[in-house]
């Protein structure tokens, strides 16, 4: 038995009234003077007992009459009927709860949770509901089910939103997909958000919710907000030792509904504030603050630019890292040192590695005869340019050097004997040298293809205009990688890993004798990237935005990786690649095989823009034209209750029972009191 208007059941207390009246009146029977009671006293005890029974029967009848009247007003339905009622028009709903960073403003998120709980409160058993917590993507999804209480507990347990950006469309699509699996036709999407305008950037005018899916946008944004945000910070990522003073730029903007024109920006390096500057936005919408900083010592430095002066703290900091690297020691073994600089490979190579004011290389040049194991050990990379007359011991020293982790760049020229070369470097060379390819005066080769994903060539994805009139025909070893090819399909650049070292073989010389590569604009970066690649592992990105996924192992070969979130919690990896998703702004500390690394994670500035969009804008964009204007659930429920209650007429039966009881009461009362 269920009741449509259960509040009326409070009236059941009125059933106690007859008992209360009885008890009150029992204490004070009216006195009546009578001529004689001799005829009353002759009444039998059985009659008096019957009199008491009749009184209690009357009391019971009156209480039952009141109770039945109350039940009639409460409009009872039997269980099966209520089940039919609920099944008649149950609801399938998806609640989209915005948990992006902007929801952290003030008590916005608390109000959003309350709205979600209020929606659940209107639902009845039989309804099914799904919950999606979203920012730029779905942070968590609870698929459609009828366990409303569990959804309620999930919402109640949400402590705070994340730091992600807002994107409505992908999450609305997800909600629509969930509703495709709904059991009921009455489908609705509730979107609880602060309706940031930035969240509508990817609005797809062509996409609509499925026909029949209603949309209810609930705006919980704070009417008045004030915020200063760092929209951009520019800082160097990598420096070499003894680098000059660096410039750090911070761009500040007021993004709240209330304009803030005063503030302060500070710069901290390695946890120590080194500079500060006021912000004055009185006559401009944005101000660029400049800081100067020195990064003297080798290693990774962390910096934080912070803006103060508003009441939203979560987007006030921007973190960055600066790697200060030692210079790369390069040993140049010049096999054809010539007074004619035109034909001197060492000249062109030296120009490439030493021309920049802040060269990352420390170049030392020797004759082939000077090459020894001791000399090799003092350098990070050895470059053999057109060296064709090494002794066997020297060749073995080179091989040992490479196997022990040294790097070698080979650019054989016309002084190289292929047989000797192939014999001496058989274990380390990426290829064997064949014949020398000499073309006619008007004929030449060009670089036809290259591996654009390779660290050397990735930044050199451009047109290689160099012309090669001379080269060595190379036969690549199986373990070598061909990085470049000439247009005759012969390898132009090869790489081979040997022991702990790397060897790169260029199929031509680095002077102008066989090609004009040294005259090309790509020559210098080509040399730099090649040397850097040989010595260093690939430069890993040190700064990420919220929502980006990346590996915390910069070597890619780490055996032991421990990491901590910006808030100091240990990171538990769910994969072997130590890949995490940035969810919290700050600095992630990582230890890879006893080597420390730091990663900066920053919020997306667009999420700090509190400019609001109208709910109607989103509604008009996504609602399907074939969707009828849905009635409110209350109206539908009322109609259904009336429709299903009508054939029952249960209250009619109750009232008839009441009438019969009143008649019985009248009869008993008449027998009792008249």
């Amino acid at each position: 038995m269920v009741f449509i208007s259960p509040l009326f059941l409070l009236g059941l207390m009125a059933a106690l009234l007859p008992i209360a009246i009885h008890l009150i009146r029992k204490e004070k029977p009216p006195k009546l003077m009578f001529s004689t009671i001799r005829f009353l006293k002759k009444t039998s005890k059985k009659l008096i007992l019957f009199q008491h029974i009749q009184q209690w029967l009357l009391l019971l009848l009156r209480s039952v009459v009141i109770a039945l009247l109350v039940m009639a007003f409460a409009r009872p339905l039997i269980d099966q009927t209520m089940a039919r009622l609920l099944d008649a028009d149950p609801q399938s709903a998806v609640i989209l709860l915005d948990i992006s960073m902007s929801m952290r403003y003030g008590d916005t998120f608390d109000r959003a949770k309350q709205e979600a709980l209020d929606i659940l409160r209107t639902m009845t058993s039989g309804d099914e509901v799904a919950l999606i917590g979203f920012s730029d993507s779905a942070e968590f999804v609870r698929e459609l089910n009828t366990d409303i209480d569990s959804v309620r507990s999930v919402i109640a347990d949400l402590e705070e939103p994340g730091y992600g950006a807002t994107r409505y469309m992908p999450n609305l699509r997800l909600a629509d997909q969930l509703l495709e699996e709904s059991r009921y036709d009455n489908r609705v999407v509730y979107l609880i958000s602060d309706f940031q305008d930035s969240g509508l950037q990817d609005l797809d005018e062509g996409w609509k919710l499925a026909p029949g899916v209603a949309f209810n946008g609930i705006d919980v944004a704070t009417e008045e907000s004030s915020n200063l945000v760092l929209t951009d910070v520019r800082s160097p990522e990598q420096l070499l030792e003894d680098a000059a003073e660096q410039l750090i730029l911070a761009r500040v903007r007021s993004t709240g509904t209330l304009y803030l024109n005063q503030g302060e920006v500070t710069l901290s390096i390695d946890g120590v504030m080194v500079d500060r500057a006021p912000v004055n936005l009185a006559d401009r919408s944005e101000e660029v603050i400049s800081f100067s900083a020195n990064f003297d010592t080798q290693g990774t430095h962390v910096g934080e630019v912070r803006v103060n002066g508003d009441n939203f703290d979560d987007d006030n900091s921007f973190f960055f890292t600066v790697d200060v690297l030692p210079k790369i020691r390069v040993l140049l073994v010049n096999g054809e040192a010539s007074e004619n600089w035109f034909d001197d490979e060492g000249h062109w190579f030296g120009l490439a590695v030493s021309s920049a004011a802040q060269s990352p290389f420390e170049l030392s040049s020797i004759e082939p005869a000077e090459l020894s194991a001791a000399v090799l050990r003092r350098n990070d990379v050895a470059v053999l340019l057109n060296v064709g007359d090494l002794s066997t011991a020297q060749a073995e020293a080179v091989g040992e050097y490479v196997n022990n982790g040294g790097s070698l760049l080979l650019a054989p020229g016309d002084r190289v004997n292929p047989d000797i070369f192939n014999r001496q470097f058989a274990e380390i060379a990426p290829a064997t040298i064949g014949s020398q390819g000499q073309l006619g005066i008007d004929d030449y080769l060009v670089i036809a293809d290259f591996d654009r994903r390779h660290p050397i060539l990735r930044p050199l994805d451009s047109d290689w205009l160099a012309r090669f009139q001379g080269h060595w025909s190379l036969s690549a070893h199986a373990e070598s990688d061909v990085l470049m090819q000439f247009d005759n399909t012969e390898p132009a650049l090869l790489e081979r890993e040997v022991g702990n070292g790397k060897v790169i073989l260029f199929a031509s010389s680095l002077d102008l004798e066989w090609n004009n590569l040294a005259l090309q604009g790509l020559f210098l970066p080509f040399v730099h990237e090649t040397l850097r690649h040989l010595v260093q592992s690939e430069k890993k990105q040190g700064s990420y935005d919220i929502g980006e996924s990346f590996s915390l192992d910069p070597t890619g070969e780490g055996q032991s990786v421990q990491a901590m979130t910006p808030s100091g919690d240990d990171i538990v990896f769910a994969n072997d690649d130590f890949v995490v998703t940035a969810t919290e702004p700050g600095l992630i500390s990582v230890n890879v095989d006893q080597v420390d690394y730091r990663y900066a994670v920053n919020i997306l500035p667009e999420e700090s823009d509190f400019t609001r969009a109208a709910v109607a804008t989103l509604y008009d964009s996504i609602i399907n034209p074939d969707t009828d204007i849905t009635q409110s659930r209350e109206v539908r429920t009322t109609q259904l209750i009336e429709e299903l209650e009508r054939p029952q007429r249960m209250w009619w039966w109750i009232l008839i029972s009441v009438m019969l009881l009143i008649l019985a009461e009248a009869v008993v009362a008449n027998r009792t009191y008249r």
């Binding site: 006195k31 009353l40 009444t43 008449n670 009191y673």
Partner: protein, 297 residues
């Protein structure tokens, strides 16, 4: 007839403070309906004339004298004024009961005064005894007009007494009666009914005519109460809490046993018995008396 009945309505009579007036209204009203009375005149030798009064038997009108004088004269006879009547009125506490209209005592006073007026009008001697558990007033029977005023004055001063003892005044009365008399007892008989009956039988055995008017209130006869109440006995203050509707039948059964006993015992003893409901007019009582007087003399 209906007008006269209205005048005899006890509730209307109760509004008349002057007891003589009340008695006259009762008697005149009663007599106005007696013209067709089947009772015939008295006896014996003609003695004198008197003026015709309403209620006189038309057969006693001297028609010859009427033809000569054009006035009605009634022929009076020698023994017509020899009747002695004693009215015995119970004034105990139970007689003060009233369910809303006239009390039993007031009804009895009205009845007694009407009887006294009527008897005196018939030139009979009338006396009065009022009592509760003791005799409160005793006026011996006389037929003079001032005596009527004393009787009416005594009746007007009657107040409810305490307990009832009917036997005592009747016993005293029997001792004082030297001639055959009519004893009119007005009481509710809420006493030891067996003793009352025995005393009445004694009076009857002494040659007296006895008329018993048992006066009961309508509520006593029908017990119309509904609400649960604490009933308090007016004579001994005992109480009884009950729901009247439940025991109404039992009450009425017990009451009817009592009334039937009184009626039956009176009838078997030659005592005229008349149960009077205070809600009904007094003519029934007067008729009973006239019937008894006619049969006796």
């Amino acid at each position: 007839m209906s007008d006269s009945i209205n005048f005899l309505d006890p509730s209307i009579l109760a509004g008349l403070d002057n007891l003589e007036l009340r008695a006259r209204v009762v008697v005149e009203g009663f007599l106005s309906g007696m013209h067709k009375s089947p009772h015939r005149g008295f006896s014996v030798e003609f003695n004198d004339y008197r003026n015709y009064n309403r209620g006189d038997d038309m057969r006693h009108v001297d028609w010859k004298l009427y033809a000569r004088s054009d006035k009605f004269y009634i022929k009076q006879y020698e023994d017509e004024t020899n009747v002695r009547c004693v009215i015995v009125l119970d004034t105990s506490a139970s007689m003060a009961y009233s369910s809303g209209g006239i009390s039993k005592l007031n009804y009895g006073v009205t009845l007694a005064s009407a009887l006294a007026y009527f008897i005196m009008r018939q030139r009979d001697a009338v006396g009065l005894i009022t009592f509760d558990d003791e005799i409160k007033e005793f006026l011996p029977p006389k037929c003079r007009q001032p005596h009527l005023m004393r009787i009416l004055r005594a009746l007007s001063q009657v107040k409810p007494g305490t307990k009832t003892d009917v036997v005592k005044p009747l016993t005293n009365l029997a001792a004082t009666l030297t001639k055959k008399s009519i004893v009119v007892l007005i009481t509710d008989m809420l006493d030891d009914e067996e003793r009352i009956i025995r005393t009445l039988q004694n009076l009857r055995a002494m040659g007296n005519d006895v008329i018993t008017f048992q006066v009961m209130d309508d509520a006593e006869l029908n017990f119309p109460f509904n609400e649960a109440s604490e009933f308090i006995d007016m004579e001994n203050n005992e109480s009884f809490i009950t729901t009247p509707a439940t025991i109404r039948k039992s009450y009425l059964d017990n009451l009817n046993v009592f009334l039937s006993y009184c009626k039956k015992q009176c009838q078997t003893s030659g005592v005229d018995y008349c149960l009077l409901n205070t809600a009904n007019p007094l003519d029934e009582a007067l008729s009973s008396y006239m019937s008894k007087r006619a049969k006796s003399f």
